[in-house]
């Protein structure tokens, strides 16, 4: 108890210190918890998506348990009751999720029924019916005729209802009585079943009707009570089939629940079989769970690898902070020790303090973490957060576990040094102080060199593409991020930072040596101070270098990923919106080909499926990469020219929100050079002026401005631009002639330009030929073209579609690149990557700022005596301030410059590896590394803010310094 009191006094009287430690802890906890939280939220989103996708079939949380009697076997009624009870009561508890539907259906074997009174009902019809009951039938079905069955048989007649459909199919009428022969029930007389009504589902999409109505057509539905008590118990009719169906609502599922849930499900089969033979789980959501599990694991790994350097930095900050504060309290510890505090007491004091702060952090951290996870979820790019429907984020036990781990590590970081310090009494401590000029451990053991070597090796492996086999598995989306590509650079930034710190004192010594004769005293003093106690500045400098280096690298990485995937998509589409309308086509020969012509192009990415005569072109268009290929049933069968009618094009130009429109024809053609066929190529016919307005060009892809080439097209009617690969292969030059067969018509072209890339075309797969559309139409039959639209900023596609419809144009396909980009940006993994990177950067900047200020605070406090002496020696306050500012410039300024430099260097070294082996082929246009000026400015702004804040705080602190006090208390207080 007195200890607590002492601790309270200590904490309260050093509240600033305590507060900063707490802040660090809270940050660490919130950052570490935010990642599992986000992963969890993202999982939920994935779950929600899967839920939507499976809308057609059974609900995703379906669990169907089935008992099917084999042969003429009769289930033991007691076991049956037990299994029924088990399924109804135990399973929901075990699964632990709410369920939307629980439905039991029991049925007898279906049998040939005969009317009781053949005179009334046509007995010659085959009627195969079964008798069944469904739990809570009345709650889900609506009577459409007659009445509901009664709960007890009247005079041995069992009342039943049937689907409306059955009436027509089996020629039933309400009131009819049928005889149902009991199969395998030796000696049981046929059951008399009277149809008393018809029903239909109250709601068609109710999962209660999971079996589908078709299977219910052939069933008499009777009362549950009648079925169980009368049929099963009294008459001992053998049960044939029992289905128990649950539709669980899995939307609230959490990552941590996946494993136990799968185990429960796996165990279920065994338990059920033990209770009643031939009972088994028919449909379960186990595969879905494992899919979720896989995805969430991948996500978590990805995010954690990305966050690892940042988390490490948070811990580094905590360790640095607590170490500094401990250093400061070392004298106090020594005083306590010499006043009779036992080792245990001191450790206990610090442990208790850590525990108190840790638990505060653990309570408040997750809230901030929650907020952080929300922001991760709303990230659309590096340091850009959009306000969109954010992902559901919840606190899970996993997240708390991670938070607790963070606290534990932080505790260890502060308590272990305390244990070491606690060994020293004041006397040992002073003795140690006298020998503090030892180099830090990492310098003595050359850790920096080792780390440099290690990251060099990492670079080598990347270069050799060794790491590529370890895919993240996120192949389905557009984004492939190698977690290691963020880890190894972080390592190398760290290593380079350390290496620089090794050089730093030499640099200072050099400066000192060079300037010793002419430098004014304050500068000389600064340099001496710095070079003598360089070790003391290492933590701060390292923190700054790491923060900025990682910041630069991450921002550039995020930008690069973002830009390249955007450009890839833009290139793939070529323009904002591509619309294909159905063309009226008339075949000369057979009328049945008409439909082929008008509808054949559906889904093909610019390839005209209906265009006949090009051999097997209907097999698809491998060069497009677009969704789907034109499955043309008629293609390749026989040649029949179809004459198309071009729909009015002017409409497109005047559509709402359209800036420009262009006609773009894409078709395959056989290319012939000097009488020799060279295989197929894609011929694109364009109107050069229109095309220049609508197409997306990346300028650096072309030797000259793209418009130069388009002008060339305009200069000659038969001009063609060909792909560079193709030109190289056949040694073609500008001015050469070539012939392309379009629609069975050879068309002659003159090469005017050779280009490596062209929007929407992939020369690595098929060579491309760009020619004038009008010329092609002159020479060859008209083939449908696509309309490329350049949209105004933010213009929507829907009004266009509506307008076209109003103009009686049938739209075959509309592709909007902006939609695609938005979809990409919304992908949880991608958002997560950007979110983590941005958030990590913000956190690290925050940490740097706090670390910076605290560091100087401690540093100044510990040098009060020195300042007192300097002031006493006649240094003016101005000179003192100048000296400190110079010191800052030398340490912080240098580290900032270095951090940015190292970050850029690392980006240039490692970012090219972002294109993995797999997507290097589809990576057209080629990869490029970008540094957005905006990001750099943001970085600078943050850094400036940091420096200014730091300097102001320092200045205030210097003003407040009571030098005489320090001199009075003596020593380094």
């Amino acid at each position: 108890m007195p200890m607590l009191r002492f601790l309270y006094r200590k904490m309260w009287n050093t509240r600033w210190l305590t507060f900063s430690t707490l802040l660090g802890l809270v940050l660490a906890v919130s950052f570490t918890t935010s990642i599992p939280m986000y992963a969890d939220g993202a999982l939920k989103r994935v779950v929600a998506k899967s839920l939507l996708q499976q809308e057609g079939g059974m609900p995703p949380g379906s669990l169907l348990i089935r008992y099917q009697a084999t042969g003429s076997e009769k289930p033991d009624m007691d076991s049956f009751k037990e299994v029924d009870r088990y399924i109804e009561q135990e399973i929901p508890k075990q699964i632990g999720f709410p369920y939307q539907t629980y439905s039991v259906s029991l049925s007898l074997r279906s049998a040939q029924i005969t009317p009781e009174d053949p005179s009334k009902v046509d007995a010659s019809r085959r009627r195969q019916m079964s008798v069944m009951t469904m739990g809570d039938f009345a709650g889900h079905a609506e009577m459409t005729g007659g009445k509901l069955f009664s709960d007890r048989p009247a005079n041995g007649v069992i009342e039943a209802v049937v689907l409306e459909e059955s009436l027509y199919r089996y020629d039933f009428r309400i009131g009819d009585v049928f005889l149902y022969p009991v199969y395998g029930g030796n000696g049981i007389p046929p059951l008399k079943i009277k149809i008393v009504g018809t029903y239909k589902p109250k709601q068609d999409d109710d999962p209660y009707w999971y079996q589908g109505l078709e299977s219910l057509v052939g069933s008499f539905v009777v009362s549950d009570k009648v079925f169980k008590e009368h049929l099963l118990q009294q008459l001992k009719v053998p049960l044939n089939l029992a289905n128990w169906y649950y539709a669980f609502d899995l939307r609230e599922i959490q990552t941590s629940q996946l494993s136990p849930l799968s185990k429960t499900l796996e165990r279920l089969d065994i338990v059920l079989y033990q209770k009643l033979k031939d009972t088994k789980v028919d449909i379960s959501f186990l595969p879905m769970l494992s899919e979720f599990k896989k995805q969430s694991m991948q996500m978590q790994t990805l995010l954690f690898t990305l966050a690892a350097p940042m988390i490490a930095m948070v811990f580094y900050y905590i360790a640095m902070n607590s170490r500094q504060s401990l250093e400061r309290q070392r004298t106090d510890i020594a005083v306590l020790r010499s006043r009779g505090a036992s080792n245990r007491q001191i450790v206990w004091i610090y442990l208790l303090e850590g525990l108190i702060l840790g638990s505060i952090a653990l309570v408040s951290g997750p809230f901030i973490g929650w907020f952080m996870a929300k922001s991760i979820g709303s990230a659309s790019g590096f340091l850009t957060f959009v306000d969109r429907k954010s992902i559901p984020v919840g606190v899970s036990s996993d997240a708390l576990l991670y938070g607790a781990a963070a606290v534990m590590i932080a505790l260890a970081a502060s308590v272990i040094p305390a244990v070491v310090f606690a060994r020293d009494s004041i006397v040992n401590f002073k003795q140690l102080m006298a020998r503090s000029d030892r180099k830090p451990v990492w310098q003595r053991w050359f850790f920096d060199i080792v780390l440099l070597g290690l990251s060099g090796y990492g670079w080598y492996l990347f270069n050799e593409r060794q790491f590529i086999s370890q895919q993240t598995g996120l192949t389905t989306d557009q984004l492939q991020v190698q977690p290691l590509l963020f880890f190894v650079p972080a390592l190398s930034i760290f290593a380079m930072g350390l290496f620089f710190l090794r050089v730093f004192p030499w640099l200072l010594k050099l400066c000192n040596w060079l300037g010793r004769s002419f430098l004014p005293v304050p500068i000389y003093l600064t340099l001496t101070q710095l070079s003598r106690s360089a070790k003391a500045y290492y933590p701060l400098m390292l923190l700054l270098i790491l923060t900025l280096g990682l910041g630069v690298y991450n921002s550039s990485a995020a930008r690069t990923i973002d830009l390249n995937s955007t450009e890839r998509t833009l290139y793939q589409y070529g323009t904002d919106v591509i619309i294909r309308v159905a063309w009226e086509g008339f075949s000369d020969a057979l009328p049945q080909d008409r439909g082929n012509g008008s509808g054949g192009g559906s889904g093909s990415g610019g390839q005209n499926g209906g265009q006949p005569g090009q051999g097997n072109q209907g097999q698809g268009n491998p060069g497009q990469g677009g969704p789907g290929t034109g499955g043309d049933p008629g293609g390749g069968e026989q040649y029949r020219p179809i004459r198309y009618e071009e729909p009015p094009f002017e409409i497109f130009r005047k559509l709402e929100g359209v800036e420009h429109a262009a006609r773009v024809l894409q078709t395959k053609g056989n290319v012939v050079i000097s009488g020799r066929s060279t295989g197929q190529g894609i011929l694109m016919g364009i109107d050069n002026v229109d095309f220049a307005e609508v197409a997306w060009f990346r300028d650096d892809l072309f030797p000259a401005h793209p418009n130069v080439y388009l002008n060339l097209l305009g200069a000659y009617e038969q001009a063609v631009i060909i792909s560079k690969k193709y030109a190289d292969k056949y040694q073609l030059k500008e001015g050469d002639l070539l012939t392309i067969t379009v629609g069975q018509e050879p068309v002659e072209f003159v090469i005017v330009g050779i280009l490596p890339y062209w929007p929407s075309l992939y020369p690595d797969q098929t060579p491309f030929f760009i020619a004038n559309l009008d010329y092609i139409y002159d020479q060859a039959p008209i083939i449908p073209y696509d309309v490329w639209l350049k949209m105004k900023e933010g213009a929507k596609v829907t009004p266009i579609v509506n307008e076209l419809m109003a103009n009686k144009m049938q739209i075959v396909s509309v592709k909007d690149v902006r939609n695609e980009l938005i979809t990409q940006k919304k992908h949880p993994a991608r958002g997560g990557v950007f979110g983590i990177l941005s958030l990590g950067f913000l956190v690290s900047v925050m940490i740097s700022l706090i670390g910076y200020v605290l560091y100087w605070f401690f540093n100044l406090s510990s040098r009060v005596v020195q300042f007192g002496v300097l002031r006493a020696m006649g240094l003016s306050r101005k000179q003192l301030t100048g000296m400190l500012l110079l010191e800052q410039a030398f340490t912080a300024g240098l580290s900032i410059a270095l951090g940015i430099g190292i970050g850029k260097l690392t980006s240039y070294l490692f970012l090219p590896f972002l294109q993995t082996a797999e997507n290097i082929k589809t990576q057209v246009p080629p990869f490029r590394i970008v540094f957005e000026a905006k990001d750099t400015y943001q970085l600078y702004a943050v850094v400036c803010f940091m420096m200014v804040t730091g300097a102001v705080l320092l200045f205030l602190h210097i003003r407040r310094l009571r030098v005489h006090q320090a001199v009075k208390l003596g020593e380094e207080r």
């Binding site: 007195p2 200890m3 009191r5 002492f6 006094r9 200590k10 009287n13 050093t14 004298t331 106090d332 020594a334 005083v335 306590l336 010499s338 006043r339 009779g340 505090a341 036992s342 080792n343 007491q345 009494s425 004041i426 006397v427 040992n428 003795q431 020998r435 009571r962 006090q965 009075k968 208390l969 003596g970 020593e971 380094e972 207080r973």
Partner: protein, 294 residues
Amino acid sequence: MIHCEGLVKIFKSDNIEVVALQGLNISVQKGEMMAIIGNSGSGKSTLLNILGGLDRPSAGQVRVGEWDLLKITDEQLVEYKRKTVGFIWQNNARNLLPYLTALENVEMPMMLSGLYDRAYAKQLLEWVGLKERMNNRLQQLSGGEQQRVAIAIALANRPSLLLADEPTGSVDTQTSDMIMDIFRRLNQELGVTIVIVTHDLSLAGKVDRVVAIRDGLTSTEFIKRNPNLVLAGGEHRTGSSIQEGHEEYVVVDRAGRLQIPKTFLDALRIGDRASMEFDGEKIMIKAPKSLEGN
């Protein structure tokens, strides 16, 4: 109370080895108030640190009360520090926790040993004359006041031995006198054994016995003369206060060795050997006789 024999302390650092105490002998009686003087580097602070349980001796015998400080375990050392010894440094940074008030500082050792007694803490502060400033932060106290707080802290656990390392080193004469008065009062009223380390001879003059340490060994002892028996003559030098009221003795250790002051040696140009004569009454040490005429 204190009994040291052949006490050796060796400091080792990376490449140097310093023998701070080279077999020192000293005894202090219970209830005595004595001072240890010596030049800096003579080992007096080392001795005090060992006595205070802050440093461990390398060899020899040290007994303080019931404790053998050479063989003491860490747990016992804690116990020793809590119950037996109180320590005052010249430097207040070592005495006090700057962020606590005077009273809280005095209560701190009590809290550590679990014998929390606020009334006694207040009483202690009253004793050292800081009743009015009890709840002031240390920064608001003057150097002398801080030093007095340090005394109160040292007494917080009612120790039987009080060690003070240059307790008046950084205060003016008036405060110094006040502090010495407090010590004397404590010595007389509570019966606390007090050992003061100082290089201030005037301060040393105010205690009953002064032991001088030179090069890690006790060399000279000054014992206060009975003020009633003032002996004329027998004084070697005048001007230094200690010689005025004290008689100076040379310490002879168990093996019969004694230290000759360096000034004597220099005056006679005695190098590594000397001649010694005994005439039945006196022992005379002379410069070595020259042999073979050189």
